[in-house]
C-alpha cells in the first residue's frame, strides 16, 4: 500500500513537470490575487486584505485538483493504461490517492505565490496573528482537498467527459463555497448548501487566523473540515471500487 502510494506520488510529480498546462492555476493565482487586492484597496477597507489572500489560495487549491486530480482515472482510461493498472496487485485507491496528494501539493504552491504577491509585489503589510492555527487550518484544508479530489477522480469517470463536472464545480462553486465572500453574506437559502462545502469552513478559519481577534471554536471547525474531507475520501474509495468491479464484470474497463 505505502509503496504504491509513493510510486503514484512520484509518477504524478513527473507528469506535472512535463505538461505546462498543469501549471495553469499556479500562473493565474497571482493574477487573481492582484485583482482581489486592487478591489479591496480601492474600497479603502484594508482590514479585508486577508480575504484577498485566502480567496486565491483556496481557488488555486481547488482548481488544481479539479483540473488535474479529477482527470487521473479518465486520463488513464483515455490513454489505455487503466486496464494494466487495475490488473496489477497494487490497490487502485492507493494509486489514486498518491497521485491526488502530489496534485494537492502543487495546489499549495499557490499559497506561497499569493503571499509573495501581497507582501513583496503589492507591498501590503500582512500580519499573521495566529500562525500555528493558520498552518493547522491549511494542513486540514489540504487533507480535505485530497479527499475531495479522490471523489472527483471517481465521479468524473462516470461521465463521457470531465468538462461538464469541471465547469459546474469552478466559479459557481467558489461562490457557494464562500472562498472570497463569507457564507453569511450570501442569500439565506444558499447558506445551508454552503455549509456542506468544506471550503466555506476552511475560508472562515484561515481568515480568522489572519485577523487580530481570538479564533473561536477551533476544534469543532477543524473537525468539520476533516469530517467533510473524510466523507468525500470514503465515497471516492467506494465509488472507485464499485466502478472497477462493475467494469470487470461487464468488460468495459476501457472505452469501447
Amino acid at each position: 500500500m505505502t509503496i504504491a502510494l509513493r510510486a503514484a506520488f512520484r509518477l504524478q510529480i513527473q507528469i506535472i513537470k512535463r505538461i505546462p498546462d498543469y501549471m495553469t492555476h499556479q500562473v493565474t493565482s497571482p493574477l487573481l490575487t492582484v485583482v482581489f487586492l486592487l478591489i479591496v484597496r480601492q474600497s479603502g477597507r484594508t482590514e479585508l486584505v486577508p480575504f484577498a489572500v485566502v480567496g486565491p489560495v483556496l481557488i488555486g487549491l481547488w482548481a488544481t485538483s479539479l483540473f488535474i486530480a479529477g482527470e487521473v482515472i479518465t486520463g488513464d482510461r483515455g490513454s489505455g493504461v487503466f486496464e494494466a493498472l487495475v490488473a496489477t496487485p497494487a490497490p487502485l485507491p492507493a494509486l489514486v490517492l498518491g497521485r491526488v496528494a502530489a496534485t494537492t501539493l502543487l495546489g499549495l504552491v499557490t499559497f506561497a505565490e499569493t503571499w509573495f504577491v501581497v507582501v513583496v509585489v503589492m507591498r501590503e503589510p500582512l500580519a499573521v496573528p495566529h500562525p500555528a492555527i493558520f498552518l493547522v487550518a491549511l494542513a486540514a484544508t489540504a487533507a480535505a482537498m485530497s479527499g475531495h479530489a479522490v471523489l472527483m477522480a471517481a465521479t468524473f469517470v462516470l461521465g463521457e467527459s470531465s468538462r461538464p463536472f469541471q465547469r459546474a464545480l469552478s466559479w459557481p462553486f467558489y461562490l457557494l463555497g464562500g472562498v472570497m465572500v463569507p457564507v453569511a453574506l450570501l442569500p439565506g437559502w444558499v447558506q445551508p448548501l454552503s455549509r456542506g462545502i468544506f471550503l466555506s469552513w476552511s475560508g472562515g478559519l484561515l481568515r480568522d487566523a489572519l485577523a487580530p481577534g481570538p479564533v473561536t471554536h477551533l476544534a469543532p471547525r477543524l473537525g468539520v473540515i476533516l469530517l467533510l474531507g473524510g466523507i468525500a475520501l470514503a465515497a471516492g474509495f467506494l465509488l472507485t471500487g464499485r466502478m472497477v468491479a462493475r467494469a470487470r464484470s461487464i468488460g468495459t474497463m476501457t472505452y469501447a
Partner: protein, 264 residues
Amino acid sequence: MRDNLRILRHAALVAFQDLQGVYSWRSWIVEWLTRAAGQIVFFVMIRRLVGSTQAVHFLLVGNVVAIAGRSIFLAVPSTVWERYAGTLPLLIAAPASPVVVFLGRSVEWIVDGFVSSVIALALLAPVFDLVLPWPRVLLFLPLMLITCLSVYMLATFFGSLALRLVNGRNLIGITMSTTLLVFCGVNVAMQTMPVVIRTIAQFVPLTHGLLGVRVLLDGSPLARVLEQGAAELGVGLLWGAIAISSFRHFAEGGRRDGSIEFGS
C-alpha cells in the same frame, strides 16, 4: 479574394462543427452559462463585501463584458486542435495561405463570447438593479461585436504561439483571459491603476470596448461611445496584423526546418 473568402467560410464551418462537439444546446445553457454567471456574480459579490451599489454596477458591467474574453480565448487551444487532428502539415503544404484557415477556424468562440455577454447582461442587470437605458442600450450589440472581434485577434495571435507549445495551450489561453481582468479596467477603474498599466492597456483588446459600454450605459454623449468603439476596432486590427505575421512566421519557419509536426 474570392478564394480566401471561400476558405474562410469552410474554416468557419469546421469551427461550428467543433463547437457542436464541445456543447449541445442543453449543455451550453446548463454548464457554460451557469459557469459564466457564477464567475460574474462571484466578482459582483466581492463588491457587496466591500462597497456600494454603484461599485456593484461597475463590477457587473466589467465582468459581463470580460466573460466574452473567457470564451474567445478558447481560440488558443482550438488553434492547436489542428495539430492534434494531423491536418497542420497539409495546411502548410497547401497552395492557399494557412493564415486564412487559422483566422477562420476558431470563429465559433466569437459567437459564443458575444452571446454569453449579451445573455449575461440581460439576465443579471435586473438582479442587481442596473437600469439599461432604452433604446441606446441596443448599441451594446455592435459595440460588443467589435470588442469580441478585437479580443479574437489577440487570441489568435496567442494561438499562433501555442502551436509552438502544444502542451501549454490551456495555460496560455486561461492566463491571457485572466490577464484581461487585471489590465482592462474590468474590476478596478483605470484611473486608479499605475501609469505603466494604463499605457499598456490602451493597446489591449477589451479596454476600449469596455469603456465604450460603460459610457453607453451611464448616459454619456454617443460621440464618446463611438470614439471608444473606433479605438477598440483599431486595437483589434493591430493585433490582427500581428497574428497574421506570427502565423506566417510559424509556417515559413516550419517549412524551412521541418519542425511543423515536431514542436514541444
